[in-house]
Symmetry: C2
Subunit: 198 residues, 2 copies
């Protein structure tokens, strides 16, 4: 059944997120399920192809989530804020996806043949349009810069949660975690207020 495939993809997502492409062996993935690594090879042909399928799944989730949040309110500033808060929430929820994409970004130069820009291009275009509306378009590159800075603020935090927890202790980390959304909101509204208000 196709169910086995799904289980492999899920397990692979977790493994690749946790240890990276090179740190993960296909035997390792298979061992986390009641199958041998040859079952994996039977379904996907090679490690690279499995990885490609994992990336495709993540990309789907990413765009689906963006679509959901995009069609919310009328006010451009408000929509901008809502979308980024949704991204923060989703990135935290699917932290495996977030970590894996960060690794992909880092490895990109190496595995550049596949040139996985697809998911980012569509994603960034959509967000940049939102930013242009919200900022009242100062300069074109300006909107993209803001978008990228906010994405960075979100992704870096998600990727750091493990380290921060063990560094700060669970209590302080929970405080930070709670403050993070609020502070992101402040950051966005401040920036938009200055852009439009003055």
């Amino acid at each position: 059944m196709t169910d086995t495939r799904e289980r492999f993809i899920d397990a692979a997502t977790r493994a690749f997120a946790e240890r990276g492409f090179y740190g993960t062996s296909i035997a390792n993935i298979a061992e986390s399920l009641p199958f041998t690594k040859q079952a994996l090879l039977h379904h996907f042909g090679s490690k690279e192809k499995l990885y490609a399928e994992v990336l495709a799944r993540i990309s789907e989730r990413l765009m689906a989530n963006l679509k959901d949040a995009g069609e919310s309110t009328s006010d451009s500033g408000e929509r901008f804020e809502i979308v980024f808060l949704a991204i923060l929430k989703a990135s935290l929820e699917h932290s495996d996806d977030t970590r894996l994409l960060m690794r992909e970004l880092l490895d990109n130069k190496r595995r550049a043949e596949s040139a996985r820009t697809w998911y980012l291009t569509a994603f960034l275009d959509t967000l940049t349009d939102l930013a242009r509306d919200a900022l009242g378009d100062e300069e074109p590159a300006c909107s993209l810069a803001l978008v990228y800075q906010l994405l960075g603020a979100i992704n870096y935090f998600v990727v750091s949660t493990a380290t921060l927890t063990q560094m700060l202790g669970t209590k302080t980390f929970d405080d930070l975690s709670a403050a993070y959304e609020q502070e992101l909101r402040s950051l966005i509204t401040s920036r938009l207020a200055v852009a439009n208000g003055r």
Copy 2:
């Protein structure tokens, strides 16, 4: 001579930044220099120990840079801005360091025994103090959140430069790159203005 050690550390920094710990073999590092991998093992004992030395070097550079920028002006808001712009500049200049630290953050859970929080703790503490002054201390977690968001905005961008270049083309990328510092400045001043002005 100790010069060989330095060359190994430099080459290893580049290799680990480019391909990650697991994607890099010690033979690979040695081949980029006129030595065999056993020369490397002679100097460092093991791959892990070499990696530790690489991390230590990076940590030194990081703190040195922070020290330089920290003792600038008197106004707390202005100092806050100057420090983060200095971090952006340094992170771009030492992009290998930045990429490697991002990988370290991602791998942290695995190689958690060493628990490399040292470099981050001192770094974050210093910055959080600056933020507290600049913000006029709304809540304690708030300052840390802001610091982390700005670090994220910086590091995510640096880590993405390769992907963005090939995705946008060099021209658009240069525009973005130029706008990035300006936009980061706007983001910071906006946030501080709203915090203090109102």
